[in-house]
C-alpha cells in the first residue's frame, strides 16, 4: 500500500504550436507521486507548472508520453479522473453572489451527488474548513483566506482521493496561509489524501514530502526538500556590505566563491570553505574601503537552493 502510485507521468511532452513557432511547454517530464504524500511542483514563472497539472488532469491534450492519475489515463479515462480527483485552478474564483452553502451545493450537484449524501459531506467539509458560521454569506464577501478555504472545500465535495492545487494561496496573508496548510496537513494525515500543489512560496515547498523543480518545461530535480537543499554547493555566508554593488562584483571574482546571491541589502555568498574564505572576503573588501556588518554563516533555505539551481540552469542555457 505504502508504495502505491497516485500520480505518474513518463516522458510527458506538451507543445503549443503557433503559426510560426512551436513552444515545448513540457519537455519529457517523468515523475511519480505516491499515494498519501504531499508533492510540490516549483519553478520560475512560465516554467510549465500549470500546464503539467492540466495535462495530467486531462484538461489539455499531451503530444507524447504517458500520464495518469490513480491508474486512469489522462487522455482515455478523463471522467474517471474527474470522479476521483479535485482541482483548484490558478486564480480560480467562485460565483461571488452565491452563498457559501449554495456554492458547495452547486459543486456537489455538478458531481451528481445525491442530496442525502450532500448533506453529510457538506456539513463535514464546513466544519473542516471552519466555515460553519458563514454558510449564508455570499462568497464575494468572504476574506481572501476564507475564499481559498471555500474553494478547497468545494473541490473536496465528491470525496476525491487526489487533489491538485495550482498556486492555491496566491495573495493570501500569512495567518490564512498557515491555516490553509494546516487543512492540507489534516487531509493527508486523516484521510490519506494525495496532494499535488504548484507553489511560488518556498516555505510551502519545504512542507512537501517531495518536490519537483521544473525549468523551461524540463524537470531538473525531483527530491525531498532536504535533498534539494543538499544540491546547493558549499556553505552560505550572509552579510551586509557598506557599498552594495562594488562589494557584490568584488566578492564574485574571489577565489573559492562559488555563487553570490542578493537578498535586499544583504549578500548571500556560497563558499567552498568558510574558515578560509571568510577572512579573505573581509580583507579584500577592506582593501576597497568596504566594511561589512552582521556577517554569519546560515543554513541555505529552500529559497536559496531554488535560486542557486535555477541560475545554474540559466547559465548553462546561455552558454549554449
Amino acid at each position: 500500500m505504502e508504495n502505491e502510485i497516485a500520480i505518474s507521468s513518463h516522458d510527458l511532452v506538451k507543445q503549443f504550436k503557433g503559426r510560426h513557432t512551436t513552444v515545448t511547454a513540457i519537455d519529457h517530464v517523468s515523475l511519480q507521486v505516491r499515494k498519501g504524500e504531499t508533492f510540490g511542483l516549483i519553478g520560475p514563472d512560465g516554467a510549465g507548472k500549470s500546464t503539467t497539472t492540466r495535462v495530467i488532469l486531462g484538461l489539455l491534450r499531451r503530444d507524447s508520453g504517458e500520464s495518469s492519475v490513480l491508474g486512469f489515463d489522462s487522455m482515455r479515462d478523463v471522467y474517471d479522473i474527474r470522479e476521483h480527483s479535485g482541482y483548484i485552478a490558478q486564480q480560480f474564483t467562485l460565483p461571488a453572489d452565491m452563498t457559501v452553502l449554495e456554492n458547495m451545493r452547486f459543486f456537489a450537484d455538478l458531481h451528481g451527488i445525491s442530496s442525502k449524501e450532500q448533506k453529510k459531506n457538506i456539513d463535514e467539509l464546513l466544519i473542516f474548513a471552519g466555515l460553519t458560521d458563514f454558510t449564508s454569506r455570499p462568497a464575494g464577501r468572504l476574506s481572501g483566506g476564507m475564499k481559498k478555504k471555500l474553494a478547497l472545500a468545494c473541490s473536496l465535495v465528491h470525496e476525491p482521493e487526489v487533489v491538485m492545487l495550482d498556486e492555491p494561496t496566491l495573495g493570501v496573508d500569512p495567518v490564512s496561509r498557515r491555516e490553509f496548510w494546516n487543512l492540507l496537513g489534516n487531509l493527508r494525515t486523516e484521510k490519506g489524501m494525495t496532494i499535488f500543489v504548484c507553489t511560488p512560496y518556498m516555505d510551502e515547498a519545504e512542507r512537501c514530502n517531495h518536490v519537483g523543480l521544473i525549468y523551461q518545461g524540463r524537470l531538473i530535480a525531483l527530491e525531498t526538500p532536504e535533498g534539494i537543499k543538499k544540491m546547493v554547493p558549499g556553505h552560505l555566508l550572509e552579510f551586509q556590505p557598506s557599498k552594495f554593488v562594488p562589494a557584490r562584483d568584488l566578492v564574485s571574482s574571489l577565489k573559492g566563491v562559488l555563487e553570490v546571491q542578493t537578498y535586499g541589502a544583504f549578500l548571500h555568498v556560497f563558499v567552498d570553505n568558510v574558515e578560509r574564505r571568510q577572512p579573505q572576503i573581509i580583507s579584500a573588501l577592506k582593501a576597497q574601503k568596504i566594511t561589512c556588518s552582521n556577517m554569519r554563516v546560515i543554513e541555505p533555505r529552500m529559497e536559496e537552493a531554488f535560486i542557486s539551481l535555477i541560475s545554474r540552469e540559466e547559465k548553462e542555457n546561455n552558454a549554449k
Binding site: 519553478g43 520560475p44 514563472d45 512560465g46 476574506s143 481572501g144 483566506g145 498556486e167 496566491l170 495573495g171 493570501v172 496573508d173 500569512p174 495567518v175 490564512s176 496561509r177 498557515r178 496548510w181 494546516n182 496537513g185 489534516n186 493527508r188 494525515t189 511560488p200 512560496y201 518556498m202 516555505d203 519545504e206 512542507r207 526538500p225 552594495f244 546571491q261 542578493t262 537578498y263 535586499g264 541589502a265 533555505r301 529552500m302 529559497e303 531554488f306 535560486i307 535555477i310 541560475s311
Partner: protein, 332 residues
C-alpha cells in the same frame, strides 16, 4: 467636512517626514476600514505596511494618493494635503497597484511613454527616463515586446518603471511581488533598495514575511488599527509574547496535531503552534521550562524528535502573535 485639523503647513523641507498620518480614519458606512492610525515614514526609508487581507492596507494607500478622502484625522504627503493639494502632490508620488496596471496591448516602451506623457514629462526628459528605466528594469531587447507576452517578473519591473517614470520622491507599492517567482522577487527588492539609496521613500505592502525583514521599519495593521510599529529587530524583541521553540521532527503533520491538541485542552500553555516550513514553531511562556516537556509529549506519541531549540522569533512569528492577540483583545 473632514480634515478639520490643518495645523501642518505644506512643506518639503529636509528633516520633515515625507508621510505623516495623525488619527487617520476612514469609514465606509458603519464599517471602519482605517481606525485612528498615527505614524510617520522617514525620508529615504523602506517602510513595510503589513496586515492580513482586508486589514485596511490598500485603503490607507488610497487615502495617501488622494483617491479617497479620510473621514477623520490629518494626512500629509510631502507636506501636501492629498485631498486639497492633489495635483501638486501627485506629481511627486508614484503608485504601483497589485494589478500591475499596464496596457497589455502596448509594447513595453509604449507603456513607459504613455505614463511619461500622463505625468507631463518633456520630450527630452522622457527620452532620458526611458533609457534609465529600460536599464533599471533590465528590459534590454524587450523594449518592443507586447506587454501581454512578458512573463510575471518582466511585467512587474515594467510596472515599477512606469510608476516612477516622473522620478517621484515617495513611492507606494501595493503587493508588488504577489505571484512572481523567488528570483524575480529578489531582483525586485534589489530595485527597491537602489531607489531608497537614491533618496526615494518607499512604502511597500507584502504578504511575504521574509520581504518584511528587508524593510527598515514595519507597521502592522489589523482590523483598521495600527497594532505595532518599529524596526524588524525591535518588534522581535518587544512585540512577542513569550519565547519561540523550534521543533524538528520526522513527521511534522502528526506532530503539529499533537501539539495543537495539547494547546486546545490546555495541558500545556502554548500561545501558538504553527508550521514554519518543515519545522514547528511553538510559542511558550518560558523556553527552558517547556523544551523538555514538548519533547516528551511527542516521544510519548512515538514521534522521532530531531531537536527542540529556542530561536530568535522570525518576523512571521511576531506578525502572527501580534495579529492573534489583537484579534483576541477585540473579541472581548
Amino acid at each position: 467636512m473632514p480634515n478639520k485639523q490643518t495645523n501642518l503647513e505644506p512643506t518639503s523641507e529636509p528633516g520633515v517626514d515625507p508621510v505623516i498620518a495623525e488619527n487617520l480614519t476612514k469609514r465606509f458606512g458603519d464599517f471602519t476600514a482605517v481606525d485612528h492610525v498615527t505614524f510617520q515614514i522617514h525620508s529615504g526609508e523602506i517602510f513595510g505596511w503589513l496586515g492580513p487581507n482586508g486589514a485596511g492596507k490598500t485603503t490607507t494607500i488610497r487615502m495617501m494618493l488622494g483617491l479617497i478622502q479620510p473621514s477623520e484625522g490629518t494626512l500629509r504627503v510631502l507636506g501636501f494635503d492629498p485631498v486639497t493639494q492633489k495635483k501638486t502632490m501627485q506629481g511627486n508620488v508614484g503608485y504601483m497597484s497589485q494589478l500591475f496596471t499596464l496596457y497589455n496591448d502596448l509594447t513595453a516602451i509604449e507603456n513607459i511613454r504613455f505614463y511619461g506623457k500622463v505625468y507631463g514629462l518633456s520630450r527630452e526628459h522622457l527620452a532620458e527616463r526611458q533609457r534609465e528605466i529600460i536599464e533599471m528594469a533590465g528590459l534590454h531587447g524587450r523594449e518592443n515586446a507586447v506587454t501581454s507576452t512578458l512573463s510575471g517578473g518582466w511585467k512587474q519591473r515594467l510596472a515599477l518603471g512606469c510608476a516612477i517614470v516622473h522620478n517621484p520622491k515617495v513611492v507606494f507599492l501595493d503587493e508588488p511581488t504577489a505571484g512572481v517567482d523567488p528570483i524575480s522577487r529578489r531582483e525586485f527588492w534589489g530595485l527597491i533598495y537602489s531607489m531608497a539609496k537614491k533618496g526615494t521613500t518607499v512604502l511597500v505592502t507584502t504578504h511575504y514575511m521574509d520581504e518584511a525583514e528587508l524593510c527598515q521599519r514595519v507597521g502592522f495593521i489589523n482590523m483598521g488599527k495600527l497594532v505595532a510599529i518599529g524596526t524588524p529587530a525591535e518588534l522581535k524583541l518587544n512585540q512577542m509574547q513569550g519565547q519561540v521553540l523550534e521543533v524538528n521532527t520526522t513527521d511534522s503533520d502528526r506532530a503539529i496535531r499533537i501539539l495543537k491538541d495539547a494547546q486546545k485542552n490546555k495541558s500545556l500553555p502554548f500561545d501558538e503552534v504553527a508550521l514554519y516550513g518543515a519545522q514547528i514553531h511553538v510559542v511558550v511562556p518560558g523556553a527552558e521550562k517547556y523544551k523538555g516537556r514538548v519533547k516528551k509529549l511527542l516521544e510519548k506519541e512515538k514521534i522521532k524528535v530531531i531537536g527542540v531549540e529556542r530561536i530568535v522569533p522570525t518576523l512571521e512569528d511576531v506578525f502572527i502573535s501580534t495579529i492573534n492577540s489583537s484579534q483576541k483583545a477585540n473579541k472581548k
